[in-house]
């Protein structure tokens, strides 16, 4: 695919994150769209002026008509002028809203892309410590909260404030006293609205939480349907669900009650202001302080002075939510990415694969060594088998090779050069990993085989690799062959099948160093033979580290490392270890013991 031109300029993270003031950070998040937002604000003001102008124009129109009688051309022009003002107001509103949305959509799109990339580049340890759901939440719904802030709340607050000021000034110019009388109620409405929306959002959260409980209940009931039926507990389940369902109903009712109370009540308060001011205005006309036209302008503007204030409470609460969301996002943004490129050593003819561990120790957390003073060395193309129980340090050792983690002390040499001098980028291109049950992506089998192979691969090449990995026939057995989708929308593959797809991929990658987790526990005999053969082909001419679970894969290894609690307790070739008393010999002897035990058992049965 040709490299796309970036549709936007990059974010300046130092400016986004380096602020105490979160609003300032949000401002930097809009980089490249400040002008659009500025334009939006200009048109916002223009729309407010146009709207106010409409009412003033209307007033003077009426006055002139009452006084001198507008006729003919003048009347037509006035009517058209009024229409033009509405059109101007409409156009400005559109421009303002368009530009604000343009900014919001672009800003969030860039933020989404940035977060996606940032998250996949966060260090290995960051990922092992964080929860998928939590990261996901921040990168999606929190980002969407920000989008709404840019598109709606920020603009709406601006609009309400601007319209208020302009309307107020306009009324004040007609009559200052009237203007002042008209805003008596505003602080009260504002306070009530803030209190109400604060409580409302609390009630809403409780309602949502109960919804989540109900959903979990439902999910458990559905996934445990066999148990429910086996114990014939349908009625019990129904009772349980009804209880939670009723609780949601109760919370919804409460939520609803608040709504039903607030809107009419605040309407009454606002209406009281409206009626009072209008009445006051009407008496002013009677007293000749104000003209009828001015009165009509006034009552038109009055609406824009009072009613929007009711919504200000909601906007303020939403804004504070947006700031909380931004806080949650910036925590992720502040986490450092893995340094992929800074080390520069890169041999011209590629690496050979000779590896030396010199007094390597490693700890995830301070003071708890997972690897303790590990030293060994192997030549290019050799096979190293790692043996030991769970938690003995095998996995941690192989995680050091692609520099998923760096050593705590000591050093690892690759072809005589310290591993830290190679860039992670380069190292990982030289190392292939086949896990016990590899993670496959929900794309086609073909895409999974070529995943991460950084070159064009022909169909022949893919099939050849698949044949070598003993998975070709399995793939052809699916209805869509290599185009079969993996996962929920396609086929479910067994652990052994996934492993062989990873083997095919690794064959295409053609790495110098190989890390294998050779577990074949969950496959039947025939497949086991096939996988074994596929692995043998893969290991040819590659320095290989095997996390071994069974004796067969160990016997041919050039070097066997037996681990216990992070230390190497036995080391050497098969023949050597066999002649030492120790765990290795014990394991080896098992096979013989099994055979004799089986024989005994059969004889016992036959003798009955």
């Amino acid at each position: 695919m040709s490299k796309q031109k970036e549709p936007y300029i990059a974010l300046d993270m130092s400016k986004v994150l380096g602020n105490k003031n979160k609003l300032l950070s949000l401002w930097h998040l809009m980089r490249g769209y400040h002008f659009h937002y500025f334009v939006s604000t200009i048109f916002l003001a223009l729309a407010a002026f146009a709207r106010t102008g409409m009412y003033l124009f209307l007033g003077s129109f009426i006055d002139r008509m009452m006084n001198e009688g507008l006729m003919g051309r003048e009347l037509t022009l006035s009517a058209l002028g009024f229409g033009a003002l509405i059109a101007l107001q409409a156009l400005s509103s559109f421009m303002s809203s368009w530009m604000a949305n343009f900014t919001a959509e672009n800003t969030t799109r860039r933020l989404r892309d940035y977060l996606f990339d940032h998250i996949q580049r966060l260090s290995y340890s960051y990922h092992s410590e964080s929860k998928t759901g939590d990261l996901l939440e921040r990168a999606t719904s929190d980002v969407d909260t920000l989008r709404r802030f840019f598109a709606e709340q920020a603009i709406s607050v601006g609009r309400i404030v601007m319209i208020f000021i302009i309307s107020f000034v306009a009324i004040a110019r007609i009559n200052l006293r009237l203007a002042l009388v008209s805003i008596i109620i505003i602080p009260i409405v504002l306070v009530i609205s803030i209190i109400f929306f604060k409580r409302l959002s609390k009630a809403y959260e409780a309602y949502q939480e109960q919804g989540a409980i109900l959903t979990t209940d439902l999910q458990e009931n559905l996934s445990g349907v066999r148990v429910v039926k086996a114990f014939a507990r349908q009625n019990y389940e129904i009772e349980k669900f009804d209880k939670e369902n009723a609780e949601k109903f109760r919370l919804g009712r409460k939520f609803n009650w608040m709504h039903a109370l607030f809107w009419p009540l605040s309407d009454i308060i606002c209406s009281a202001q409206n009626i009072g001011s209008s009445f006051y205005g009407a008496t002013m006309v009677l007293n000749g302080v104000m003209t009828l036209g001015q009165y009509l302008s006034f009552i038109g503007l009055l609406g824009w002075l009072i009613w929007p204030i009711r919504n200000l409470g909601r906007l303020i609460i939403d804004t504070s939510r947006a700031l909380v969301s931004f806080g949650r996002i910036s925590v992720v943004m502040e986490a450092p990415e893995e340094d992929m490129k800074s080390a520069t050593y890169q041999p011209k003819d590629g690496i050979k694969g000779q590896i030396t561990f010199e007094h390597v120790s490693f700890a995830y957390e301070k003071d708890f060594l997972v690897l303790d003073d590990v030293s060994f060395s192997c030549d290019a193309g050799q096979v190293v088998a790692l043996l030991g129980s769970t938690g003995s340090g095998k996995t941690s050792l192989v995680n050091l090779l692609p520099r998923f983690y760096d050593v705590t002390s000591g050093q690892i040499l690759l072809d005589g050069v310290n591993l830290n001098e190679y860039s992670r980028e380069f190292l990982r291109s030289q190392i292939g990993i086949v896990e016990q049950e590899p993670f496959l992506f929900s794309c086609s089998i073909r895409d999974n085989i070529t995943y991460g192979v950084h070159r064009e691969v022909s169909q022949e090449e893919i099939e050849e690799a698949a044949r070598e990995a003993a998975i070709h026939d399995v793939i052809l057995g699916f209805r869509h062959g290599y185009d079969t989708l993996v996962g929920e929308r396609g086929v479910t593959l067994s652990g052994g099948q996934k492993q062989r797809i990873a083997i095919a991929r690794t064959l295409l990658l053609n790495p110098r160093i190989l890390i294998l987790d050779d577990s074949t526990s969950s496959v039947d005999m025939e497949t086991e033979v096939e996988i074994r053969a596929a692995l043998d082909r893969l290991m040819t001419n590659r320095t290989t580290f095997i996390i071994a679970h069974r004796i067969q894969s160990i016997m041919n290894a050039d070097l066997i490392l037996v681990f216990d609690k992070g230390k190497i307790i036995q080391m050497g070739e098969h023949e050597v270890l066999l002649n030492q008393a120790g765990i290795y010999k014990d394991i080896y002897d098992i096979q013989a013991r099994i055979d004799s035990a089986l024989q005994e058992e059969i004889e016992h049965v036959e003798s009955i």
């Binding site: 892309d113 996606f116 996934s223 039926k229 009407a282």
Partner: protein, 609 residues
């Protein structure tokens, strides 16, 4: 299979079948008094909304222009009283509709859940869980919203426009005709806009869920991504999705931004006409200023009901589609049902007999072929054989999760379809291979076996099952939370608890599917002990993987291709040197390899990182 379900939901346009509308209205039937009250409330609010303009007109004409202060005072007093009346209607409208919406959601969820409990296992194995969940959670909301807020907005909009038109026609015929002519234009343009906006909005929601799925996968598979240096390509792929989302979302917001201004501009044309024509009439003395002002107000206000109407119209199609899906689920009949004239029983103690039983799932591929056997009361049967041979199906038939397509199953002398499902299932105890626990405490999970069990009885059962000790090792003992799906416990512990749960139920027949995954030796021994407790004195069927279980069975059946290919006890089958012999020796090797290997991972769920 799941494709069909996905596509169904992507369908935007659904034929408006009258059946759906009728059934939706039927859901409202019990609430017709509330609905009636709400409609009265809506009409009152809507009428007064339109009437305020008339009142304003009178204040101008009869009060201000006529310089009549007492009139002004009395009109403003009326105004205040009407506001109070309207707010009362407003309150009723919001309160009743909101309550009704909540009530309907509750009803729909309840009906669906109750119905789901009656459906057979076959339905759940065919239908993706997520699909069912969406029906209960989101579709019910959309249905309720349509029936309440949708109905309310429609009534409000229609009556409001009608009342306004009525007053306008009263006030001035010519000007009213101008408004009347512009009305259809505004409505049509509005509907077109709204449908388009909603379409793009839905597209953007879909794009959004694709984007979220991509992100989710990238986080879950981050280890592979890093190992294969796929970051740059992944970002490129993601940008395609995020661009798609951007475009759909942008289209929706752009159309939204231009929509209202467009309608306003259209209304501006009629306003200009009204000002011009009205201006002439005012100057000619045939019309008052108040009337002119009233018309200006009306035309500005009428934009709101039009917008509401268009919005409801756009969202309605989707809500109807939701309703169709919900109704299709409610129409689903359980495949296994109680027959008429049931035979009441309090116990299923007796022989178990299969007579020429055949069974196939929907695809007509026979899974069980003409199977016959007779198990005397109290015998322990071990079912062995390769995966897919039909062992699980036999168990499912026994529990009557499915019924034979041919032949008869007899328990205690009677065809078991003569019993009620509840009687059978409450008398048969089942322990599954991967035991399912419900979130809650250990005690809650044990009590699931018998709801009226006392704490002492629960502990007694746990002791018998060998679960008591590890339970007491938890900080909170029996009150320890097991986590969602029991994921705070190991497989072995879950199995012990499910054995204790079955013991508490004190079933007449016991069925167990042994776990294949390895469990540490101590737990294993405890499980064996618990199983024996359950097996003693009860007819039992075990899908066996453990050698000790198999060896101690009274009868071993080797199931292959839906048939019994060998049966007998351990010794006789070993001597026969047939299928059983091969299975046994293979399992024997495997067991010992696992047992002796000091490095074998205890429990297979140890994570790689």
């Amino acid at each position: 299979m799941s494709n069909q379900y996905n596509e169904e939901e992507l369908d935007d346009v659904v034929s408006l079948k009258s059946g759906v509308v009728g059934r939706l209205l039927k859901a409202l039937k019990p609430y017709w008094p509330q609905m009636l009250l709400a409609v009265v409330g809506i009409s009152l609010v809507s009428f007064l909304d339109a009437y305020f303009t008339v009142l304003n007109k009178r204040i101008i004409d009869e009060g201000i222009v006529a310089k009549n202060l007492p009139m002004i005072i009395s009109l403003f007093r009326n105004y205040a009283l009407i506001v109070l009346a309207q707010m009362f209607g407003f309150f009723i409208m919001i309160y009743i509709m909101g309550l009704l919406a909540e009530q309907l959601r509750y009803d729909f969820r309840k009906n669906l859940f109750h119905h789901l409990q009656s459906l057979s296992l076959s339905y759940f194995s065919k239908t993706p869980l997520g699909w069912i969940m969406s029906r209960v959670t989101s579709d019910t909301e959309k249905m309720a919203d349509l029936l309440t807020w949708g109905v309310q907005d429609t009534i409000w909009a229609v009556t409001n426009i009608s009342f306004a038109m009525y007053f306008m026609l009263q006030l001035n015929l010519t000007l009213a005709l101008i408004v009347l002519l512009s009305l259809p234009v505004m409505i049509i343009v509005s509907f077109k806009f709204r449908v388009k906006i909603y379409h793009h909005y839905r597209q953007s929601r879909k794009a959004n869920s694709k984007m979220t799925a991509a992100l989710n996968e990238n986080i879950t598979g981050v280890r592979v991504v890093k190992a294969l240096r796929r970051e740059a390509k992944n970002l490129e792929d993601f940008k395609v999705l995020s661009t798609n989302m951007y475009e759909e979302s942008y289209r929706a917001v752009f159309l939204s931004a231009i929509y209202l201004p467009t309608i306003q501009t259209i209304s501006a044309i009629s306003l200009v006409l009204i000002l011009w024509r009205g201006g002439l009439q005012v100057a000619g003395g045939t019309m008052t200023v108040g009337v002119l002002q009233a018309f200006i107000s009306y035309i500005m206000m009428i934009l709101w009901p039009i917008q509401d109407l268009a919005r409801v119209y756009a969202e309605m199609q989707n809500a109807v589609a939701s309703s169709e899906r919900v109704f299709s689920l409610l129409d689903m009949q359980p495949e296994i049902r109680n027959r008429e004239n049931l035979l009441p029983v309090d116990s299923l103690v007796g022989d178990v007999e299969f007579e020429n039983v055949s069974f196939h799932y929907d695809d007509d591929e026979p899974v069980i072929k003409n199977l016959s056997f007779h198990i005397p009361q109290g015998q322990n049967v071990a079912l062995v054989g390769t995966t897919g041979g039909g062992k699980t199906t036999i168990v499912n038939l026994l529990c009557r999760f499915y019924e034979p397509t041919d032949g008869v199953i007899r328990i205690a002398g009677h065809d078991y379809t003569q019993y009620s499902l509840e009687d059978i299932q409450s008398r048969i105890g089942v322990v599954l291979q991967v035991p399912h626990l419900f979130s809650g405490s250990i005690r809650d999970n044990l009590r699931y076996g018998r709801l009226d069990a006392t704490d002492e009885e629960i502990e007694e059962a746990a002791k018998l099952a060998g679960a008591h000790e590890f339970i007491m090792n938890f900080e909170k003992g029996y009150d320890q939370d097991v986590g969602e799906g029991g994921n705070q416990l190991s497989v072995g512990q879950k199995q012990l608890i499910s054995i204790a749960r079955a013991l508490l139920a004190d079933p007449d027949i016991f069925i167990m599917d042994e776990a294949t995954s390895s469990v540490d030796t101590l737990t294993e021994a405890l499980i064996q002990k618990g199983m024996h407790q359950l097996m003693s004195g009860r007819t039992s069927f075990i899908i066996a993987h453990r050698l000790s279980t198999i060896k101690s069975a009274d009868l071993i059946m080797v199931i292959e291709g839906g048939q019994i290919i060998e049966q007998g006890n351990h010794e006789s089958l070993m001597r026969a040197r047939g299928h059983y012999y091969n299975l046994y020796t293979k399992q024997f090797r495997h067991d010992l390899e696992t047992k002796y290997n000091p490095f074998a991972d205890q429990e297979t769920e140890v994570s790689a990182a």
